[in-house]
């Protein structure tokens, strides 16, 4: 097929698989590490945000209320994380279920521990 300007050989003709690879860049199924780090960063930021509420504004944000928000948001983020990884890897031979399970389990345990022991 005809490829966009800058790809394929000069004078028309088809593109090679190397040209297709160059147009794609990093494949989405190889982004699991970056997606996992983003999820963990979002989870830590959520902890930071809710902690700012109950440490600096305890009269407005009681600690149990902050923990409740933290738990609900962790669930929201976990759904997004699972969705991202599964959609990016569908239709390929890649399978990161182990990484996803370990990450979700880790944040679940972390969420419970933080809710039990952190705060006023």
């Amino acid at each position: 097929m005809t490829l966009p300007k800058g790809f394929g050989s000069a004078g028309g003709g088809g593109g090679t698989s190397a040209d297709v690879e160059r147009m794609i860049g990093r494949r989405v199924e190889n982004m699991t590490g970056m997606i996992t780090l983003s999820y963990l960063a979002a989870w830590l930021a959520t902890f930071g945000g809710t902690a700012a509420g109950y440490f600096y504004y305890p009269w407005a944000y009681p600690t149990p209320s902050g923990h409740y928000a933290f738990i609900v948001l962790t669930i929201v983020e976990a759904i997004g994380y699972i969705f991202c990884v599964k959609v990016m890897e569908e239709g390929t031979r890649k399978n990161s279920n182990g990484i996803v399970a370990a990450t979700i389990a880790g944040t679940a345990v972390g969420t419970v521990l933080i809710s039990l022991y952190v705060g006023n």
Partner: protein, 195 residues
């Protein structure tokens, strides 16, 4: 069964290799999921903000509920702007006259409205230190979000419909849903006069 439904849909011309297009559509999908999670998290913040305003009315613009709310009103227009930049690499997502996709335009305009409403809102509250929900400065927040959601729905359905057409996603089994995808691919999800 999957192929039957796919073949029945309108076949758009392939202007870039199929594999490249699937990868690009999925990269757009990644950004959209991240922004969807952000928007969902702000639903929680609506309650946090409402709770604070019922206890302290409005002590300051700089409360955690406002950091969260206002930063998302800045992050989402920037995120959708990033989608608009990357979107140029997928020919099927072009709008009328090779311009930006109409749904994407609506989304960015809607969230830009909310972003500028932060300033309008702070001006209002400089004089009126209340937090009545129905005051005019709050209208544009709500209207902007509604416009943005409508546009985002049109855009996201179009991306999904193209992934279905390319065989990368499973089509809806419900015939009404399948018809909606077909309309989306033809750029007629909301109106036949606005492609």
């Amino acid at each position: 069964m999957v192929n039957e439904v796919t073949v029945a849909m309108a076949q758009m011309p392939a202007l870039i290799p199929k594999e490249v297009e699937i990868q690009r559509l999925k990269k757009i999908w990644l950004i959209v999921i991240a922004m969807g999670s952000t928007a969902a998290s702000v639903e929680v913040d609506n309650f946090v903000d409402g709770s604070l305003h019922q206890t302290s009315i409005r002590d300051s613009a700089f409360t955690p509920a406002h950091w969260w709310l206002y930063s998302h009103f800045v992050a989402l227009p920037l995120g959708w702007g990033a989608v608009a930049i990357y979107d140029r690499r997928v020919p099927i997502l072009r709008g009328p006259n090779n311009s930006m996709n109409t749904g994407l335009k609506m989304t960015i305009l809607g969230y830009l409205a909310t972003m500028f409403t932060i300033g309008v809102n702070e001006m209002w509250h400089f004089w009126f230190v209340e937090e009545i929900f129905a005051v005019p400065n709050h209208w544009m927040f709500n209207m902007g979000v509604v416009v943005a959601f409508m546009g985002a729905l049109a855009y996201v359905v179009r991306v999904y419909a193209r992934l279905v057409e390319l065989g990368a996603e499973t089509p809806g089994e419900n015939p009404y849903v399948a018809e909606m995808y077909k309309m989306a691919l033809e750029g007629k999800l909301y109106s036949r006069s606005i492609p």
